[in-house]
C-alpha cells in the first residue's frame, strides 16, 4: 500500500483531488495505477441497476407497505382493547366463583328439590332409593360449571364493579 491508497476513494467520490505531485506518482507507479483503476471501477460497480430501478414506484410501494403495517397494528390494538378487559372480567368471575362453592351448592340443591318434590309422592320405595342414589351427582355444582354473576353477594358484586370500572 502506498500513501495514495487511503485517499483514492475520497478522490474517486470527488471529496479530494490529486495534486500535480500525486498525478506524477500515479503515472510512474504501476502498483498505484492499477489500484487507482480498481477503485475507479468499484465506484461504477452496479451502475447498470440504476436504469432498472423504478424509484417512484418503489416509493409508492414502501408507503403502501407502511400503511398496511399501521392498519394491522391498529387492528391488533383494537382487538386487544376489547379482549383484555373481557379476559380480566372472566378471570375475576372464576376467582370469585371459586371462593363460594357451598352457597352455590345449597341454592342448586334447593332448586332441584323443589322441582322434584311433587313427583316424589308418586314413586315407590325402590324408585325413591334409585332417585336418592342419582340426585347427589346431578346437583353437584362443580360438575355443572362455574356459578354466574347472580351467585355473587352484594358486597362481592360491588367489588367486581369497582374492579371493572376502575
Amino acid at each position: 500500500m502506498t500513501h495514495l491508497s487511503d485517499r483514492m476513494p475520497e478522490v474517486a467520490h470527488g471529496r479530494d483531488v490529486w495534486t500535480a505531485e500525486d498525478q506524477a506518482h500515479l503515472v510512474g507507479c504501476d502498483s498505484c495505477r492499477s489500484e487507482w483503476i480498481l477503485i475507479g471501477c468499484a465506484t461504477q460497480l452496479g451502475r447498470d441497476i440504476d436504469g432498472q430501478l423504478d424509484l417512484e414506484g418503489l416509493t409508492d410501494r414502501v408507503a403502501k407497505q407502511l400503511r398496511r403495517a399501521v392498519q394491522a397494528r391498529r387492528t391488533r390494538f383494537r382487538v386487544a382493547r376489547w379482549f383484555v378487559p373481557l379476559a380480566a372480567a372472566a378471570t375475576l368471575l372464576i376467582v370469585f366463583g371459586r371462593g363460594r362453592p357451598f352457597g352455590a351448592v345449597r341454592e342448586t340443591k334447593a332448586l332441584t328439590a323443589s322441582v322434584l318434590l311433587p313427583e316424589l309422592e308418586l314413586l315407590t320405595e325402590d324408585d325413591l332409593e334409585l332417585v336418592f342414589d342419582v340426585v347427589p351427582a346431578a346437583v353437584n355444582p362443580l360438575e355443572q360449571g362455574i356459578p354466574g354473576v347472580s351467585d355473587l353477594g352484594e358486597e362481592e358484586l360491588e367489588r367486581l364493579l369497582q374492579t371493572l370500572e376502575g
Partner: protein, 206 residues
C-alpha cells in the same frame, strides 16, 4: 426529535407510526437540501413525503450496494423496498449520530445475508448475470460490462467482511468510522479489511 411544549415525550413517540392520512400535514414539503435527520424527524411526525424524499435520495445507492454485494438483479428492488420498510418502522431507534445511509446499508446488508442463507439451501445464487447490452457502442460497452462482471465476481469471492468493507469504502465512499458502525467492527479493523480486499482484488484481476 423536537419537543412540543406541554406534550410529554411519550405521547409524541406513540404517534410515530401513524399514517399520514390521519395526521394533519403540519410539516412543509421536504426540500432536497434538508438533512436526513430532519427528514426522519418529519416522517416520524407523520409526513409521508419525507419518507419518499429519503427513498429518492438513497434508493439508487442502496440498490447498487446490494447488487454488488451479490444480490440477484431480479431481487434487488424487493430488497431495497424491504430495507426502507424496516428502516422506517424502526426509525425511532436510529441514532442521529450515525449517517442515515450507513444505517440503511447495514439493514440492507443484513437482509442480503438472510436471503443468501435461505438461498444457499436451495440453489447457488449466480454472482454474474449476463443481460443483453443495449448501447450505441456495443463493443466498448461489452468490454466495460466484462470488466464490471469480473470485478463483481471477484468481489463476491472475498470473505464477507472484506467484501462489505471494500464496497462501503470504494463503491459507497464511506469513511472508516461509518464503515465500522455499519459492519459492527472498529475503524482500525475496517481499514485492515479494506487493504486486504484491495490487495486480493489486484492480485486476482491483474
Amino acid at each position: 426529535m423536537p419537543s412540543t411544549p406541554g406534550v410529554p415525550q411519550g405521547v409524541i413517540n406513540r404517534r410515530r407510526f401513524l399514517p399520514s392520512d390521519s395526521v394533519p400535514m403540519t410539516v412543509p414539503r421536504p426540500a432536497a437540501h434538508e438533512s436526513d435527520a430532519a427528514l426522519v424527524a418529519a416522517y416520524r411526525s407523520g409526513d409521508e413525503r419525507a419518507a419518499a424524499e429519503l427513498v429518492r435520495r438513497h434508493g439508487a445507492a442502496l440498490a447498487r450496494y446490494l447488487y454488488a454485494n451479490g444480490a440477484p438483479k431480479s431481487e434487488v428492488e424487493d430488497l431495497v423496498q424491504e430495507t426502507f420498510f424496516r428502516a422506517f418502522r424502526a426509525a425511532g431507534s436510529w441514532r442521529g449520530d450515525a449517517e442515515f445511509r450507513s444505517w440503511l446499508l447495514r439493514i440492507g446488508g443484513n437482509l442480503r445475508k438472510d436471503l443468501y442463507r435461505r438461498e444457499r439451501g436451495r440453489q447457488m445464487v449466480s454472482i454474474v448475470e449476463t443481460d443483453a447490452v443495449d448501447s450505441a457502442d456495443p463493443e466498448g460497452e461489452a468490454i466495460a460490462t466484462d470488466h464490471e462482471d469480473r470485478l463483481r465476481a471477484e468481489v463476491g469471492r472475498l470473505p464477507r467482511l472484506q467484501r462489505e468493507v471494500f464496497l462501503l469504502r470504494a463503491q459507497q465512499g464511506l469513511d472508516y468510522r461509518a464503515i465500522a458502525e455499519t459492519c459492527g467492527t472498529t475503524p482500525g479493523a475496517a481499514r485492515v479489511h479494506y487493504h486486504h480486499a484491495v490487495q486480493r482484488l489486484r492480485e486476482t484481476l491483474e
